[in-house]
Symmetry: C2
Subunit: 253 residues, 2 copies
């Protein structure tokens, strides 16, 4: 099972409009440190899934048939805006998503080829030989994380969240992902981190998954700035994702 990050940024991305912090200034001249909206392509055997659709060129990257489905975590624009352009085209595309009566803009009103499939909390379904469980997360809009299993390898994709509901934490403790991709928007010491994890919380959570790889994503520019002067801040088994990076998730025999 391979996961390729198309984007790893918090809302607004890196560089942020009008921001002159060292990281945003560098990102204007060095594409390698830019962060597009958080979004990833999962490939497992013959199955290709897009996890969120915040990058704006979804229509160009994925012609009809290139994806088996999109798994949307929630309906904030930076997680679905790449779907807007597909709606006047031909083809079909299943979009799994949480129950959210609002959706985003007129996605529900004018879905075109998009077929929205609303998932219940802890609902499990299969796409080919990939088994997926939708787990509820705490965020400012109804939000699901996705726990994805293929040939014994287990990957959890948890974006966006400020907290794991107890039942979700219990599920994950039992399920023990080999790879856990987690929203970590803010640096430590953020006063009242709103709607997203900060690094202090991510470090605390990592203790529940001693054998798993924890990959931080949905990164805000302030966390990048904080990390830039602390190259050894992350413990072994924890890393920060980069746009374009591919993870390989292999199960233990």
């Amino acid at each position: 099972m391979r996961l390729t990050f198309l984007g790893t940024g918090a809302a607004g991305g890196v560089p942020l409009w009008g921001c002159d912090c060292p990281v945003c200034a560098r990102a204007r001249v060095d594409a390698s440190v830019r962060r597009q909206p958080n979004c990833a392509l999962l490939e497992a055997g013959e199955v290709r899934l897009l996890l969120d659709a915040g990058v704006m060129d979804v229509a160009e990257r994925f012609p009809p048939g290139a994806l088996d489905a999109v798994l949307v975590t929630h309906f904030h624009a930076d997680h679905v805006q790449g779907l807007f352009h597909l709606r006047w085209g031909n083809g079909e595309l299943d979009v799994y998503c949480p129950h959210d009566s609002e959706g985003c803009a007129d996605l529900y009103k004018s879905p075109g080829p998009l077929q929205f499939m609303q998932l219940s909390k802890f609902e499990t379904f299969e796409l080919g030989d990939v088994r997926i469980t939708a787990v509820p997360l705490v965020h400012s809009k109804p939000t699901l994380g996705y726990c994805i299993e293929h040939e014994g390898a287990r990957l959890a994709y948890l974006s966006d969240c400020s907290e794991l509901p107890p039942a979700t934490l219990e599920f994950l403790q039992r399920w023990q992902p080999h790879t856990l991709c987690l929203d970590c928007t803010f640096p430590p010491g953020t006063e009242q981190p709103r709607n997203h994890f900060d690094l202090t919380q991510a470090l605390a959570l990592s203790r529940d998954f001693p054998d798993g790889e924890l990959v931080l994503m949905h990164i805000g520019h302030k966390l990048d700035v904080w990390l830039s002067t602390r190259p050894d801040a992350l413990p072994s088994g924890m890393s920060v994702a980069r746009d374009g990076e591919t993870l390989v998730c292999v199960g233990t025999p």
Copy 2:
């Protein structure tokens, strides 16, 4: 006064996702016939205005201070989606728009540096030495066209519309724009053209402006296909806009 089209396409753009018509197929290999979301930059003296914000790289093209304001015709995603990314940045940007209680996605809820200024029908205001009148249009969402005057040159930007309300037509007949940019999504013979002009309607309207230049925009792929075999279909004084094209609008002395 100069108007540069950043995009000239109907919703979904050209090429359309999954469409194999001759125009969409060609647009995949020939960037010169692609159409991004309809959107233009107006430059008049020292004033720079963005007319709609459908292109996705507004944040990159226009750092804080590069624009005096954005004039939004309406809140469909393909006219405002470029504003989403600016909202977590620094700076200020005035966004003139119609009264629309819905807006688009969470633009109103999380405006960040955007200051939405709702305009009444036929309201006139000035930005530097540019005089602007907002005129109501008939579309599936509250929509304004913008009549823009600078040093005697008059340019009307009318996107999106299926019809001009009588009072708007009267205003335009009296005002007599030198350049009239008009939504023309569909080819002639479209059965019940919905929410947008077709070429038959555009040709009919042009008779009211015998001395003006009529520039068609918000072009759908079917109109491009229709025109591709009829190079002489448009009368003198009427043209189809292309992405990247610049019009110069000079008033008569």
